[in-house]
C-alpha cells in the first residue's frame, strides 16, 4: 500500500559519496561509494517495508519519498530541516536509537488533521494537549522504529530504542534543532517523507548519525555486501 516517488534534493544537499562539492556537505570519508550505494538501496527497501507496516497498522494509504542520504555539517542541519519541511508551523519529537547503529531520529510533522489522525490511533473525540503530544510521540516512535528497525534488520544489526521525547508543538521549522544544541560537527543524515493522503498529513523522518559512529555502519555495510 505504499508508493515511492522521487523528489528533487534541496540546494546544498548532495548524495553522500557523490563528488558534488557543496559547502554544507563533505565527502563521507568513512563510507565508500559502494557502501553509500548499498546504504541507499537498504534505505529504499527498509523505508518501503516501513511504509507497508505503517499502512497496515493505520489502515491508510501511505506515500513515501525516496530516502535522501548525505553527510551534513551540523551547523547546516536547521537549514536543511527548513528545506525539507518548508515554512509551515510544525510539531517535532526526537528518539534515540542505540546498539550497532547509534543516533537520533527527528520526526517533524505538519499541521494536518489532528482529530482525524487521533481517531485513527484510537483516541476518542477532540484531542487535548496531552493526547496531541502523546500522539506525536507515538508517531515518532512508530516511524523511527519502522525505518531504523527496517534498515537494521537488513543489516542484521541489533538496534534498541529509548522512549521518544517531545521537542515541541507549533514550532517554526527553523526552531526544531538549534545549532548550539548540537554536539557533533558532522552527521550522516537520512531523510524520508511519509504522507497520509486522507489526512493531508506529512511527516518527515530525519535520522542523524554522528560521523564517528559511521565506522560501525561501514562494517555492517561491508558484511552486507560480502553476503550478496
Amino acid at each position: 500500500m505504499s508508493t515511492a516517488g522521487a523528489s528533487p534534493a534541496p540546494a546544498g544537499f548532495a548524495a553522500a559519496g557523490s563528488a558534488a562539492p557543496a559547502s554544507a556537505t563533505t565527502a563521507p570519508a568513512n563510507l565508500s561509494e559502494d557502501q553509500t550505494a548499498a546504504l541507499q538501496e537498504i534505505a529504499n527497501i527498509g523505508m518501503g517495508q516501513a511504509g507497508d507496516s505503517i499502512a497496515r497498522i493505520w489502515k491508510q494509504f501511505v506515500a513515501l519519498s525516496v530516502p535522501r542520504i548525505a553527510l551534513v555539517e551540523s551547523g547546516r542541519i536547521p537549514t536543511l530541516i527548513h528545506h525539507f519541511v518548508g515554512d509551515a508551523r510544525v510539531s517535532a519529537a526526537r528518539q534515540a536509537f542505540h546498539g550497532a547503529m547509534r543516533g537520533e531520529v527527528l520526526v517533524v510533522i505538519g499541521r494536518g488533521n489532528r482529530d482525524q489522525l487521533g481517531e485513527l490511533m484510537g483516541y476518542d473525540g477532540q484531542l487535548d494537549l496531552g493526547e496531541e503530544q502523546e500522539m506525536l510521540l507515538d508517531i515518532a516512535n512508530v516511524l523511527g522504529g519502522a525505518c531504523i528497525g527496517g534498515i537494521a534488520r537488513q543489516l542484521g544489526a541489533d538496534v534498541g530504542f529509548s522512549a521518544p521525547s517531545l521537542i515541541g508543538t507549533d514550532l517554526d521549522s527553523h526552531a526544531v534543532v538549534r545549532p548550539e544544541e548540537l554536539c557533533v560537527s558532522t552527521a550522516l543524515c537520512v531523510e524520508v517523507c511519509f504522507t497520509i493522503e486522507s489526512n493531508q498529513l506529512s511527516a518527515h523522518l530525519i535520522a542523524l548519525m554522528p560521523r564517528e559512529e559511521l565506522v560501525n555502519l561501514a562494517q555492517l555495510l561491508d558484511r552486507f555486501l560480502c553476503n550478496l
Partner: protein, 464 residues
C-alpha cells in the same frame, strides 16, 4: 550457575523488581503478572492468568490501548507512554499515603515485543515504572518557574515604566529650563522696554512743547521782513512741516502700542513659566488659555483662525505652569493638524449659571478642523515616544507628559477625533485638588509612576 539457577534468578528478579511487569498474548490475555502488579492492583497472578486485560480492567482506555499493543505485535518495535502526557495507565495508589501531592501513581510504561525463534512476536511485555516522585519534583519546578517567569515579566514591565518615567522627566526638565530661560530673557527685555516707554513719554511731551513753540513763531511771521518771511515759508514747504506735525502723533502712538505689545508678551511669558510662583494655586483657565495662546501665537498666526467659546467657569486649584505646558502642547498639536489653514476653537465650561450647586469639575477643550487621528493611533497617542511626525520633529513625549500632568492633578484627558474632520482634546480638572493628586504630586516628579519599593526591587541588592 546452571540454566536452572539462571531461570530461577531471572524469575526472582521479574517477581521482586520494583517495576510492574505483565505480559499479554495477541488476544490481550494476561500470561505474566508480577508482584508489583499484584500489590498495587490487589489481584494475584492466579486470578489474572488467562483473563482478558480489558475485561479485568474496564477503566483502561481500551480502543487506544488495543491499537497501541496491536502495533507492537505488528511492527515488532518498542512503544512507550510517558507520565507527562498520560499520567498513568493503571490507576494505582501512589507511594505517599502521608505526604500526598498527586491523585494516583505516575507511570512511565514500555511495551516490548517478545519474539519467538521464527521472529514472530508472540507476547507483548508491559513494564510500569513509578514516576510519582519525579512528577512531584517536576510539579514544584514548574510552579517555581512560573513564579520566576511572572517576576521577570513584572521586572521587565517596571523597567519599561522606569525608562518611560526617565524620558518624561527629561522632557519636563527640558521644558522647565526653556521656561526659565524665556523668563530670564523676558526679565532682561523688561528693563530697556521700561526706560524706552518712559523716554517715549518725555519725547512726546517735548515734541508737543516744540510744536507749540514753532506755532508761536509762525503766528508772528508777518512781523518778519518780507525776505526773511519768504525764506521761512520756503523752508517750511521744503521740509513738509505740516505732514511732520501730523505724522509725529501717529508715530508716537504706534510706538507706544508696540511697547505695550512687548510688555504684554513679557507678562505672558512670565505668567506662562511662573518661575516666581510654582506651587498649587487658584488659576483662571481662560487666562491660562490666553497667555499660552500669546506664547505660541507665532506658530499659529498664519494658518489658524482662533474661535473662543468661553463660559467663565470657576477658578481651579492647580499648578499653573504645568497646566500651561499641557495647553501649549494641545495648541501646538492643533496647529500641526491644521496643515495649510484652519480653525482652532478654545472652549471652557461649564457655565456656572447652568449648574445646580457647586461646580466640582471644570473642563477646557482645544478643537481643530485638521486631519484627525485614526482609531488605532488614538489608542497610542498617550504612549511615550509615540509620534506620527517625521524623525527629528517630534519627541512623542508631549501628550504622554500632558497625560501624566493631568493625572497628577486628579483630572482626565480625553480625545475624540474623526479622520479628515478634526480632533478635540478635553481636559477635565477638579475645582479642588484631591487627596490623590496631593499624594502623587508629593513624589518626585514624573517618576511618580514607580514606587520607591519598586525602584529598589529593580536595582537589586548589588545596585546593578
Amino acid at each position: 550457575m546452571d540454566e536452572n539457577t539462571d531461570l530461577k534468578l531471572l524469575g526472582f528478579i521479574v517477581e521482586r523488581l520494583e517495576v510492574g511487569i505483565l505480559a499479554i498474548d495477541p488476544q490481550f490475555r494476561v500470561v505474566l503478572w508480577n508482584r508489583f502488579m499484584e500489590t498495587h492492583s490487589g489481584r494475584d497472578l492466579d486470578s489474572m492468568r488467562g483473563q482478558c486485560l480489558f475485561e479485568s480492567f474496564p477503566e483502561l482506555p481500551e480502543r487506544w490501548l488495543r491499537r497501541k499493543i496491536e502495533s507492537v505485535f505488528e511492527l515488532g518495535n518498542y512503544s512507550f507512554t510517558s507520565w507527562e502526557q498520560r499520567p498513568y495507565l493503571f490507576r494505582f495508589q501512589h507511594n505517599r499515603p502521608i505526604t500526598g501531592g498527586v491523585d494516583a501513581m505516575r507511570q512511565n510504561c514500555t511495551f516490548l515485543p517478545l519474539r519467538d525463534a521464527s521472529g514472530v512476536v508472540r507476547l507483548v511485555v508491559l513494564t510500569l515504572s513509578d514516576y510519582t516522585d519525579t512528577a512531584l519534583i517536576q510539579q514544584k519546578l514548574t510552579a517555581a518557574m512560573a513564579v520566576s517567569d511572572e517576576e521577570r515579566r513584572k521586572q521587565r514591565a517596571l523597567l519599561r515604566r522606569l525608562q518611560d518615567a526617565k524620558a518624561q522627566l527629561f522632557q519636563s526638565e527640558k521644558l522647565a529650563s526653556i521656561g526659565q530661560l524665556a523668563a530670564g530673557v523676558a526679565h532682561e527685555i523688561n528693563n530697556p522696554v521700561g526706560f524706552v516707554t518712559s523716554n517715549l513719554g518725555s519725547l512726546e511731551r517735548y515734541l508737543i512743547d516744540l510744536t507749540t513753540l514753532i506755532e508761536s513763531y509762525a503766528s508772528h511771521a508777518d512781523q518778519l521782513p518780507p525776505a526773511a518771511a519768504e525764506a521761512v515759508r520756503r523752508q517750511r514747504e521744503k521740509l513738509d512741516y505740516d505732514f511732520i506735525r501730523e505724522d509725529l502723533g501717529a508715530l508716537i502712538r504706534e510706538s507706544r502700542e508696540g511697547l505695550d505689545h512687548i510688555r504684554r508678551i513679557i507678562l505672558d511669558l512670565k505668567d506662562f513659566t511662573r518661575v516666581d510662583q510654582s506651587g498649587w494655586q487658584l488659576a483662571d483657565l481662560e487666562k491660562a488659555f490666553d497667555s499660552t495662546l500669546n506664547v505660541v501665537w507665532n506658530e499659529l498666526k498664519y494658518k489658524a483662525t482662533i474661535v473662543k467659546d468661553y463660559r467663565h467657569p470657576p477658578q481651579v486649584e492647580c499648578i499653573p505652569g504645568q497646566i500651561n505646558q499641557v495647553l501649549m502642547n494641545l495648541l501646538v498639536n492643533a496647529g500641526h493638524a491644521l496643515g495649510e489653514k484652519g480653525e482652532i476653537t478654545l472652549r471652557t465650561g461649564p457655565d456656572p449659571s447652568e449648574v445646580t450647586g457647586a461646580v466640582a469639575e471644570v473642563w477646557v477643550e482645544v478643537e481643530d478642523d485638521g486631519c484627525g487621528i485614526s482609531v488605532e493611533h488614538q489608542k497610542r497617542i498617550f504612549d511615550p515616544f509615540f509620534t506620527t511626525k517625521p524623525v527629528g520633529q517630534g519627541t512623542g513625549l508631549g501628550l504622554s507628559v500632558s497625560y501624566n500632568i493631568i493625572r497628577r492633578h486628579g483630572g482626565r484627558i480625553d480625545v475624540r477625533s474623526t479622520v479628515g474632520v478634526g480632533t478635540c482634546f478635553r481636559l477635565t480638572l477638579p475645582v479642588q485638588r484631591s487627596e490623590v493628586a496631593d499624594a502623587v504630586s508629593e513624589s518626585p516628579d514624573l517618576a511618580a509612576e514607580v514606587t520607591p519599593e519598586e525602584l529598589l526591587a529593580l536595582e537589586g541588592p548589588d545596585g546593578a
